[in-house]
């Protein structure tokens, strides 16, 4: 509580930052004058194969305990959701919709793959393994290429099927309510702009749990403390990428500077739209949204609700200043009333 005041703009007293709205430099606002670029995840669910390597790599690296052997019947999702002992969760959604949503780079039908292959490692901009952005040399179609998009054939009497897979994670919000409400300072903003819990300081009060608009952070039943994704803070500190991104075989989980990821994501959506995948949309990338944009955002192929994500999340502490103002007004009114009444009584 340094320079903050509860009135006026929605400034927190904790980090000098905003409680809501756009915040271009979240780490500097938190008091890191020489902060590195803000980093995060772009999870492109259109290339997720549901292998769950991210879940396992996360648990391995962070030594998270196994948390239940329950067959849920929710397709191949037996993890169910994020929690104190699940920091990556792959959702599986079976839909009676035509196959063909998962189109990695269909806009590149016209790429000469051999030219692209020869350029690999030669041109810096050439797509490397797992590249999802169009490579150079988008020219004329190679001779004899099968023309046009493949339209799914609907066999008689059978519905077409789409199986969506998506790896969910803590959003590392620009305005993180969990952090705002933490009374011990256990939750803090790192120099990378991420949000981390220090388990040795956490007192298990649990305020952060209902504060999260995504239902991400949770207490472990056996020790009461709150746990969530640290975006592998320990790995970032030594220049390594988070374990989940490292393990992802198809680069569905991409790690990097947030600005760069947002550019990549916008290009990817445009590419999918051009390929006719009109369902493709970004989720959590918009700095204007209710949490000021997420540090971990997604490319989805359906409404967020389908994946179990809130359609319009709002930082739960957004209205705190107003609430405090109202409370202060109320308190002042009460005090005035009391003064008036005592004044009358004394008479």
């Amino acid at each position: 509580m340094t320079d903050g005041t509860w009135g006026g703009a929605d400034r927190t007293v904790a980090d000098g930052g905003l409680l809501s709205g756009p915040e271009p430099d979240v780490a500097r606002a938190a008091g890191y004058p020489d902060a590195p670029q803000r980093v995060g995840f772009f999870t492109d669910t259109s290339v997720c194969i549901g292998c769950k390597a991210c879940e396992v790599a996360c648990k391995e690296w962070n030594a998270i305990p196994e948390d239940g052997l329950e067959l849920t019947g929710m397709s191949y999702d037996n993890t169910q959701g994020l929690g104190g002992s699940t920091w990556r969760h792959v959702a599986f959604i079976e839909q009676r919709k035509p196959l063909g949503g998962q189109e990695p780079g269909t806009g590149q039908d016209t790429v000469d793959v051999f030219a692209a292959a020869r350029d690999l490692g030669v041109t810096p901009s050439a797509p490397g393994p797992g590249a999802t952005s169009p490579g150079p040399g988008c020219g004329e179609a190679p001779a004899g290429a099968p023309s046009g998009e493949i339209s799914p054939v609907a066999p008689d009497g059978r519905s077409e099927l789409r199986w969506l897979m998506s790896s969910d994670v803590c959003k590392h919000c620009t305005h993180a309510a969990c952090l705002d409400v933490c009374p011990t300072g256990s939750l803090f903003r790192t120099e990378f702009g991420t949000v981390v819990v220090q388990e040795d300081i956490c007192n298990g009060c649990g305020y952060c749990v209902p504060a999260c608009p995504y239902g991400v952070i949770d207490q472990r039943p056996d020790d009461g403390r709150a746990w969530k994704c640290t975006l592998c803070y320990d790995r970032l500190g030594v220049g390594m990428e988070p374990a989940c991104a490292k393990a992802c075989p198809t680069r569905s989980i991409q790690f990097g500077p947030l600005d760069e990821l947002r550019e990549r994501a916008a290009a990817r959506v445009a590419q999918l739209h051009a390929a006719g995948v009109t369902d493709a949309r970004l989720y959590g990338e918009d700095p204007q949204d209710g949490v000021g944009g997420d540090g971990a955002f997604f490319l989805l192929l359906d409404q967020p609700e389908v994946y179990g994500l809130p359609p319009d999340p709002v930082v739960t502490t957004r209205d705190l200043p107003a609430m405090w103002r109202h409370a202060a007004t109320a308190a002042a009114s009460l005090a005035a009333l009391a003064v008036v009444s005592f004044a009358r009584r004394s008479r």
Binding site: K52, L71, V113, A116, A131, D156
Partner: protein, 860 residues
């Protein structure tokens, strides 16, 4: 592939990102289907009809690559007059001996010569080629080896117009004429429009400018006609000119990290390292007779003697000299098939008394799991090396037979030893992947407790056995005592140096200098090489498999990542990527080409051809070995240098892929009177290995559903590496079966409830997943529901469940002796299975209802 090979699937995703279309053919909608452009659900066990249908489409529409077919395949070769196709004999080929249930392949040969196979059953040709006789039981599979089938003296008659009625091309055309889209729809349950779409995609994407690749896994191999499934893909890819070219080929996705390595340097009974066939027990068979019988006259298998003598030198060092045939007589001899399943029968008969299980869990992982346990219960001793106490180590105290009362622990005489094994991170060594790429892995940590590497176990076991035999004068012990068994060791546990083993595999000359190519191997004992195809992996004394130049720092072939056998070639038979004149078929698909100025082959990849053999070269008559190959013989391991559309030698069950129904099938064979593969490998009758009635036979309606087993991403094969891992167990915590909503309604199955699945072998229970991903199919006019079951589970570990393999029979592919786990017939009903003796009673009741006895399903 996304399901079982997620890491390899990244390259499919990259190909997709570059415009590739992905077609997924699978009874189930899997993670692969989710990312594919087209998913084709089909009836399990009907793939030869499906592939045969595409072959027919290619032939009928002239969609084949004519120049490639004429120059590089045996399509123009004229067959003997006495050959009879399945067209003539209602589903069998000429040469069938019903008594011995085997084929004599004499009539399958080319007109005017005799061929030896480059692989497969090479001993078939032994009597003809040596005048000797075999003591091998009947003519079962072990008589063909693995090198190219050989061609005899004389030249095959060819018709390059492809119009001779007896030329391979015309025979092929007649053979597949009945594999029409209508038949595909009826037999596979694939609608005609969907089938047509697949045909168009495959043919439009093949030719000079484009290539198509096929990837398969055990969904193709684990059938009583499994080898012929792969052959069908080979015929198709050969017709389309998709072999030896970038982006083409047929890729076997193999189950474990080094399953490819385990056949290159085999754990198989019928092969020596580098696919040299294991000798059969023939009278007075010396090295010369063996090579004469098994080698090819032309092509690189013509040098088999050099490969074999160098191997014998690596095994027995100074003891191997010309005077004693380089210790050729030290090699064991085959007396028939000694596959896993025969070994089980031998255990029950008491002839197999001891058993090593190294990273294998047959008590749940092999077909007819009960038979596996019964076999182990008849052993004197059993050694299990694994990470955890897998079911194969504990069946004697808590296996299913203890519960049913069929076994009592106190009655079992088997002495069971459990030895904890080190994981791959706890030892060094190489993995050979499906692309034949050797990649070295380094040790990260010491193995915990008493866990040791397989290399440590094998080396020290050999050392101790040799010490115990050191004073023996029994000639039987000489092969052990003469072995070269000196390896440097390090550390407190005396771990042998894996690098030294790799150096031995690579080989060296008489001065001990490392060899760099198999072309340096000699047949006079002056070179030693543990596996001829791996020669060069330690060239210049450097571990080439440990190379890790990143992809961004080299060209697209990436020749400096690891080392691929042979000779670091990334694409086999790549001479076929150029036309007969040596020019690339197209610039897009250029890989290697003839450089007239240099007088040699050059290219992006290492040319798989004699470097200075010009396209115009024609060998003199009588030239042998590699010298016998002409400049237009790209398939250098084959006896005629050509890709085989038709197999004159090397296969036990026919020269052309032909559809037969699985051993247990609810459907009759729509194509021929012959229901099943006539020479499928049936094991001797046993009460716990009963077969079911099929097709229109009475009783077949008792098992109306087709079942298939498979793997899922979260678990690994029989579970030894995954069910004990809490992080994996929680991802798929219970054994389940997958059924369609239609089947659930038909049988009253509830989502996440229990189902009981029954076959003539056993009964199991599974949680039910009702899902649209299991599509009902219309097959032969009726709705077919299929039951999918992952086979990872067993009673031990963090996640437990019944083993799907309790249901599967032991009827095998006659070439490979692989079980038919991918297509069989079951019944399914709601609720949990009975316990104890009642479970046996249920299976007995099913057998009685279906009228099953020891003859059922054993008809020719």
């Amino acid at each position: 592939m996304a399901e079982c090979h997620p890491v390899g699937f990244q390259w499919v995703m990259e190909a997709k990102a570059r415009g590739a279309k992905v077609i997924h053919v699978d009874p189930r909608f899997t993670r692969t289907s989710a990312l594919a452009d087209v998913h084709v659900p089909l009836r399990a066990g009907s793939d030869i009809v499906f592939l045969g249908g595409i072959i027919n489409h290619v032939l009928q529409t002239d969609g084949y690559f004519r120049d490639y077919v004429v120059s590089y395949t045996n399509g123009p070769v004229v067959l003997r007059e006495d050959f009879r196709d399945t067209e003539d004999l209602d589903g069998v080929f000429s040469g069938l001996d019903p008594e011995s249930r085997s084929y004599d392949n004499g009539s399958w040969q080319y007109q005017g010569t005799e061929m030896q196979a480059a692989s497969g059953e090479r001993d078939q040709e032994y009597p003809k080629r040596t005048g000797g006789s075999s003591v091998t039981e009947a003519a079962r599979g072990e008589s063909h080896g693995s090198g190219g089938a050989d061609l005899g003296e004389g030249e095959a008659e060819r018709d390059e117009t492809l119009s001779h009625p007896r030329c391979v091309f015309q025979v092929l055309k007649r053979h597949y004429a009945r594999y029409t889209p209508e038949v595909v729809e009826e037999a596979c349950g694939v609608p005609r429009d969907l089938f047509r779409q697949v045909c168009d995609l495959v043919t439009q994407n093949s030719g000079r400018e484009r290539t198509t690749a096929f990837a398969y896994a055990v969904g193709w191999t684990q059938h009583t006609v499994g080898v012929q499934y792969i052959r069908a893909a080979s015929v198709l890819q050969t017709l389309l000119g998709n072999i030896g070219r970038p982006g083409g080929g047929i890729l076997a996705l193999r189950g474990h990290a080094s399953i490819q390595g385990s056949t290159d340097i085999p754990t198989l009974f019928n092969l020596l390292p580098g696919y040299i066939p294991m000798p059969h027990a023939h009278q007075r068979q010396d090295l010369d007779a063996f090579v004469r019988a098994e080698a090819t006259r032309k092509g690189y298998w013509g040098n088999m003697r050099s490969y074999l003598v160098s191997l014998l030198k690596a095994y027995w060092g100074d003891a191997a000299v010309a005077e004693n045939d380089f210790c050729f007589d030290y090699l064991p001899r085959l007396t028939g098939s000694h596959s896993t399943y025969e070994t089980v029968m031998a255990q029950l008969e008491g002839t197999c008394k001891g058993y090593f299980l190294v990273g294998e869990n047959p008590a749940v992982g092999s077909a007819d799991a009960k038979m596996q346990r019964l076999g182990m219960a008849a052993l004197d001793w059993l050694v299990v090396r694994d990470f955890s106490l897998i079911e194969s180590a504990t069946w004697w105290k808590d296996g299913p037979e203890i519960e049913t009362g069929e076994m009592r622990t106190e009655d079992i005489g088997t002495e069971v030893f459990f030895l904890p094994a080190a994981a791959h991170t706890e030892k060094e060594g190489s993995f050979t992947n499906t692309q034949r790429l050797l990649q070295w892995h380094h040790q990260a940590v010491e193995p915990p407790g008493e866990a040791r590497s397989d290399l440590w176990f094998t080396y020290h076991l050999g050392r101790l056995v040799r010490e115990k035999l050191a004073r023996s004068t029994d000639p039987m012990d000489r092969p052990l005592l003469d072995l070269t068994w000196e390896y440097p060791t390090r550390g407190e546990h005396a771990e042998p140096d894996a690098g030294a083993v790799l150096a031995e595999i690579n080989g060296h000359d008489a001065d001990g200098v490392p060899l760099s190519s198999y072309q340096q191997l000699e047949d006079d004992g002056s070179t030693a090489c543990g596996c001829w195809i791996y020669c060069g992996v330690h060239a210049d004394g450097v571990n080439q498999a440990a190379r890790r130049t990143p992809g961004q720092e080299q060209d697209w072939v990436a020749a400096e990542w690891g080392w691929a056998w042979p000779a670091n070639r990334r694409i086999l038979y790549n001479r076929a990527s150029a036309d007969p004149q040596g020019r690339p078929w197209s610039e897009r698909k250029a890989l290697v080409w003839w450089d007239e100025d240099e007088g040699s082959w050059r290219g992006h990849d290492v040319p798989d051809f004699e470097a200075d053999r010009s396209p115009g070269h024609r060998p003199p008559p009588g030239a042998k070995g590699p010298e016998g190959l002409s400049g237009i013989d790209p398939f250098i391991m084959q006896a005629d240098g050509k890709a085989w559309l038709y197999v004159p030698s090397g296969l036990t069950d026919g020269p052309l892929p032909t559809h037969y129904e699985p051993q247990d099938s609810p459907f009759p064979n729509l194509l021929y009177g012959q229901q099943r593969n006539p020479v499928r490998h049936l094991l001797p009758p046993h009460p716990d290995n009963r077969y079911q009635p099929s097709g229109e036979e009475p009783g077949s309606e008792v098992f109306p559903y087709v079942a298939t087993t498979y793997r899922i991403t979260e678990h690994h094969t029989a579970g030894g590496m995954s069910r004990w891992q809490p992080y994996l167990a929680e991802l798929q915590p219970e054994f389940f079966c997958e059924v369609s909503p239609g089947l659930a309604a038909e049988r009253g199955l509830e989502h996440t409830g229990w189902a009981t699945v029954v076959s003539a072998r056993g009964v199991i229970e599974a949680r039910v997943l009702v899902t649209d991903r299991m599509a009902p199919l219309t097959v032969q006019g009726r709705t077919l529901h299929q039951v999918g079951m992952p086979y990872h589970w067993g009673p031990n570990g963090c996640t437990t469940g019944d083993a799907a393999n309790e249901l599967v029979h032991m009827s095998l592919d006659p070439n490979t002796h692989i079980q038919e786990t991918k297509a069989f017939a079951v019944d399914i009903r709601p609720g949990r299975r009975p316990r104890g003796p009642a479970a046996l009673e249920l299976v007995r009741a099913y057998r009685a209802r279906a009228g099953i006895d020891e003859r059922t399903g054993t008809e020719l």
